[in-house]
Amino acid sequence: MAGRIVRVASGQGFWGDWQEAPKLQVRSGDIDYLMLDYLAEITMSILQKQRVKNPAAGYARDFVPLMLDLAPELVEGGVRVVTNAGGVNPAACRDALVAGLADVKTTRPLRIAIVTGDDLMDRLGDLLDAGHELRNMETGAPLSDIRDRVYSANAYIGMEPILEALGQGADIIVTGRSTDTALTYGPLVHEFGWAHDDWDRIAAGVVAGHINECGAQAAGGNTLFDWQGVDLAIPGYPIIEATADGSFVVTKHPGLGGRVTWTSVTEQLVYEMGDPADYITPDCVADFGTVTVADLGGDRVRVSGVTGGPRTDLLKVSIAYHDGFKATGSLTYAGPDALAKARRADEVLRARLDRAGLVFDEIRTEFVGAGACLGLEPGPSAADLPEVGLRVGVRAPDRTPVEAFTREIAPLILAGPPSVTGFAGGRPRVQEVMAYWPALIDRTAVESELRVEVSDA
């Protein structure tokens, strides 16, 4: 590979990922950018719930102490951070960061940028009035069907605000619902000055972003191929070493665990894939059918040949809406006849729910240890299992029957089949169901509202 190399390191693959990973990325070798992805489909509604309770919440809280810890080294090493840790409240995240940095000694102030405008919650009424129907991409139903139950609504935004922030010299860029992959390809477009209609190169950046966005998963985490052979105690997370032509090498810092091979990279390439020829992002449509993967050895995998097509006129909108309540209760039955005991307990429980006249949208029983993951019918060998977990879940539009269900699990201990244990956790918790409503919107309706704010701390 000839020419200048830009290194974009992955430090978090979701909110709750290993906190040491980003520190190891900064401290174990040279990198230029650290990308931290905190947001999954469901995360936005959780953050929204927190903001409703507390106007200063609604972002990935772990991110602030992490930055305070790393700040002097970011300045020293010239490492810039791009993250969607802002969740539904990037301004509050920035405020906490600025306040915390006041007590951290750095050789120069850090420039922090936030990106806002992806949050459509306060604009929903206006958007619907203006004719944006926000129909469910899967069912075709208009948003007006569930309008009064909407909890959060955010557009997946692309690279433009990230490029603007980088252009203004930001060291830390905090966005809301930026597309995961843009946290990686934004820095690459900035560094290499790729034209915004250079679809092949941007698509290559998207593939790099797809590899980076799930943390350790591209570097030996969760790998099925030779999983016993990977040391995952202190894993190195993936690092993209990109060149101006769009090709890149996936690697990790030497001296850390994990493993980067054609197998680890290919497993991640097919993760959460839809139609590979039609991988839609806000900035291009990438064709994963053109990706070439070559294993160079020594934890280095070369990815090249990616092509892409023009971006679409639409952005995806991720909407979460309240859709009833659910609860799940679990008990463990020991052998002999563990499965038979668990089955009898399920019958007893259902008879009591019937007698109480409780009505649910769904009752689901699973026998953990006897094929629950794939919904398999337990075979003859299941009769000999030393123990079986009984897991029963219910869902209903109202809280009342779900609440009543949670009181019917514990009685099974004394008034049910024998050899039962595993009730240390207490009564099951009633959970609010947040359903997911994917929609599309004319991109101009969102992009006119995107803002980048810069402050020094």
Binding site: E267, L269, E272, L374, V394
Partner: protein, 127 residues
């Protein structure tokens, strides 16, 4: 010879709403055509009959010697609606590898050598 799919392939699975995706990757390029011939959408749907309520779509990725399956309506509604233990289809990748396939003995032998680390699974690349 009849072997479980795990002898010639490995896999990873994930979710998008109520749809599970299962990517199946040939251990060696020689095994890819057997994936294409044997691991049909119909067989995959039957294999996941316990969870899959919708259609199964298949996409071919000859560049990666891989297939991508979309199992629609397979996650109990998806997201937080689902009451399933595996509401994200995380274990479906391992699950598909139990599917039985008919593969020539020499192809299985090549895949075994890849797993043993005796030969690379893909042509080695250059820096």
């Amino acid at each position: 010879m009849k072997v479980p799919l795990s002898r010639i392939a490995f896999a990873r699975s994930g979710d998008k709403g109520d749809t599970a995706n299962v990517g199946v990757i040939a251990l060696a390029p020689e095994a890819y055509e057997h994936l294409v011939n044997q691991v049909t959408p119909e067989r995959v749907r039957a294999h996941f009959a316990g969870v899959c309520r919708g259609d199964v779509e298949r996409f071919e990725l000859p560049n990666l010697s891989a297939l991508n399956f979309l199992l629609h309506e397979s996650l109990g509604g998806g997201g937080t609606v689902s009451l399933m233990l595996d509401a994200q289809g995380k274990t479906f990748g391992a699950g598909i590898l139990a599917l039985e396939v008919e593969v020539p003995e020499d192809v299985v032998a090549v895949c075994d050598r890849v797993v043993a680390g005796e030969i690379p699974g893909r042509p080695p690349g250059e820096e």
